[in-house]
């Protein structure tokens, strides 16, 4: 019973982080048609910037986190403005490849500046636990759930209640119609990248709290959020959130159960579960859980 509660909380925590990374993927994709794999770079750089601002330069953790989010938003906009803009807007394949290039360069640069070994992030809660219902739950998991929840709500409010959000939703729905309404697609692209960069930084930071620490393996974690995006139907923000939470829960519960139920599968199996779930869902329901197959009028 202890295990279940702990796993539930950590599942929601990891899932929450996946959810916001997936949100970043979905928002950019639905508005621009680009699969922005550089999101992994923003996750990585965000975590390390928090490390630098907080642990190295002594700023309070919350400030470091916010600072990292802002800097990553700027980084994302730079990537979009300086690099992606130079490509033909309809060449989405080239854009994906370009973002992969950014991802790899970022990984190498991060390793150069901060080294290859994992490091403690310097979060204020570290390995502390909190007792909930007689069970010791990792404080970092609780904080992650909270902050991810706040960011998810903020994102949805931003999409639904602000003019910028409306512009993004309009462009995602029908770019030509949005342009006809006077919405500048390039402005929308910039905004979505900034948002994606900011949430990625938060996710990277939160995933590095607690016992795990920061390392360049974080970039791979961003890839684990991709199935969440497809699961949700690639263009549905709500789907991305549900998909992310689902992935997180599946992953953590698998890690809990495998040693007892199927030890032959090994410790790495939990890391593959998001992809297996993806494959399963795609085989049964190709449009994902929330997607709709658009009828292409010809």
């Amino acid at each position: 019973m202890t295990d279940v509660l702990q796993t539930l909380v950590s599942g929601v925590a990891v899932g929450g982080a996946y959810a916001i990374v997936a949100l970043g993927f979905v928002i950019v994709f639905s508005a621009t048609g680009i699969l922005n794999l550089a999101q992994g770079a923003f996750v990585l750089v965000g975590a390390y910037l928090t490390l630098q601002l907080g642990a190295r330069w002594g700023l309070p953790f919350g400030v470091a986190l916010l600072g990292s989010m802002v800097l990553c938003a700027v980084l994302a906009v730079l990537v979009e403005r300086l690099l992606l803009r130079r490509l033909s807007p309809r060449d989405h394949g080239a854009a994906v490849l370009l973002t992969i290039g950014v991802l790899f360069v970022s990984e190498a640069v991060v390793e150069s500046i901060w080294g290859v070994e994992a490091q403690r992030l310097g979060d204020p809660w570290g390995l502390d636990t909190v007792t909930v219902l007689d069970v010791a739950v990792a404080e970092s998991d609780l904080w992650t759930c909270l902050i991810c929840g706040v960011l998810i709500v903020a994102t949805f409010l931003g999409l639904q209640r602000t003019r910028a959000g409306l512009a993004v939703r309009a462009t995602a729905s029908d770019q030509e119609a949005a342009i006809a309404q006077g919405i500048d697609p390039r402005m929308v692209m910039t905004m979505t990248f900034a948002a994606a960069g900011a949430v990625a930084a938060a996710a990277g930071t939160l995933l590095s709290t607690g016992s795990i620490g920061v390392s360049s393996a974080l970039a791979a974690t961003a890839f684990s959020a991709l199935p969440a995006m497809v699961l949700g139907g690639t263009t549905s923000p709500g789907g991305a959130v549900v998909g992310g939470l689902l992935m997180g829960l599946v992953q953590q519960f698998t890690a809990l159960l495998v040693p007892d139920v199927a030890p032959g599968l090994g410790a790495r199996f939990a890391g593959v579960t998001p992809y297996l779930v993806l494959l399963l869902v795609l085989l049964i329901r190709p449009q994902g859980l929330f997607g709709r197959r658009a009828v292409a009028r010809f």
Binding site: L87, I100, F104, S112, V116, F223, L226
Partner: protein, 379 residues
């Protein structure tokens, strides 16, 4: 002025209306002669270590040829080629070393296995949109990583396993061709494989199958309406690309004689992307040029890591002077290549070549127009 293209199949087209133009047959004989000289002459001219590098370039070219067909022709963006290469490598390593299968049987098995797995992947892929396919291919790499690490009895897990299987067929040892050293023999074997597959890829491009794939790439609905069985061709492209990848895996294992899961991970997948982007993805020559340039460059840096400028720029261990750990260099280099080439010439070297040809063709047209204009004025 409309762009004039050289059609691979239109017999009436002359790309450059120059009078002294070699007939097609002479050109082909010349090309064949050049290729033969390169194939057999290179081993005689270069040292073993260079030949070894070139043999690895061949393996990468082979893997990239699969991508030429799958992505270049049929337009399916999948990064999962290293998965099929890994399957080919581990299958041949295990059965070759543990059960002593001979290399011919291994080749057949590996190609068939790759084809079947590829077809299965294709079956899933046909229902997916472009972005979903890209993500599923990432998933396949992740799954391959898990499988190659976990199935220790076959793969040796994290530490890898021996792939020192015999390359003898009948009395002939492919690693010791008559009068040649091991490096020389393997060079010839690998590049012969590349040559054969490249010829097949070229044939496909010019023939009905290639046209169908390119139609699918450009406009799937219109392709359907012409009567192209889109599903069948997509699955076929996947099967063929994966079979070629598996073959590359067998050769890779034979060259390296020891394989680990790190040989088939995401870094390798991106290396292949860099190869096809640099070389050009829609022609077989692009795969070959890309492999030579990209893999060649990587190898060259690795072998010069102790001399200037790399000893100053790269740090080989903790505490060594340098801007970047050597392990990160490959990552950095492939990423940078992708960015630079995509911004400058998205179609790669082949695209540069095509642009140059069109430039030259338009000079001819301009010259002809000027001549016609002059004729008009004097008449």
């Amino acid at each position: 002025m409309a762009t004039v293209v050289r059609s691979d199949t239109d017999p009436a087209v002359r790309p450059r209306p120059t009078p002294a133009r070699r007939s097609g047959v002479v050109r082909r004989v010349l090309a064949a002669a050049v290729v033969l000289v390169l194939l057999l002459g290179t081993p005689l001219y270069f040292v073993d270590s260079t030949l070894a590098t070139l043999a690895y370039c061949a393996v990468f070219a082979l893997g990239a040829l699969g991508l030429t067909i799958l992505t270049g022709y049929a337009g399916q963006l999948s990064i999962a080629q290293p998965f099929f290469i890994g399957v080919g490598a581990y299958l041949s390593a295990y059965l070759g070393v543990e059960s002593g299968w001979n290399v011919l049987a291994l080749t057949v098995l590996v190609v068939v296995a790759g084809g079947v797995l590829g077809a299965l992947a294709g079956l899933v892929a046909v229902r997916l949109s472009g972005i979903e396919l890209a993500i599923v291919s990432i998933a396949l790499i992740a799954f391959g990583d898990y499988l190659f690490n976990q199935w220790k009895s076959v793969t040796g897990g994290e530490n890898g396993r021996s792939a020192a299987f015999s390359l003898e067929i009948g009395g002939l040892d492919l690693a010791a061709l008559p009068g040649m050293t091991r490096s020389q023999s393997l060079f010839v074997v690998c590049w012969t494989a590349v040559l054969l597959v490249a010829l097949v890829a070229r044939a496909i491009r010019r023939q009905r199958a290639g046209r169908a794939m390119m139609a699918i790439r450009e406009h799937e609905r219109a392709a359907e309406v012409i009567g192209i069985d889109v599903r069948a061709y997509k699955i076929g492209a996947f099967a063929l690309a994966s079979a070629i990848g598996a073959l590359a895996g067998l050769l890779y294992a034979a060259l390296q004689q020891y394989i680990t899961p790190l040989d088939f991970d995401l870094n390798t997948a991106v290396l292949f992307l860099a190869i096809v982007v640099v070389g050009g993805v829609d022609r077989p020559l692009g795969a070959v040029l890309g492999a030579l340039l990209v893999y060649g460059a990587v190898q060259w840096v690795s072998s010069h890591v102790d001399s200037w400028p790399f000893d100053a720029l790269l740090s080989s261990f903790q505490g060594d002077a340098g801007l970047m750990p050597i392990g990160s260099f490959l990552t950095f280099f492939t990423g940078l290549l992708l960015i630079v080439v995509l911004l400058w010439e998205p179609q790669g070297l082949v695209g540069l070549g095509a642009r140059a040809k069109r430039r030259i063709a338009s000079w001819d047209v301009a010259a002809r127009l000027r001549r016609d204009h002059r004729d008009e004025e004097t008449s």
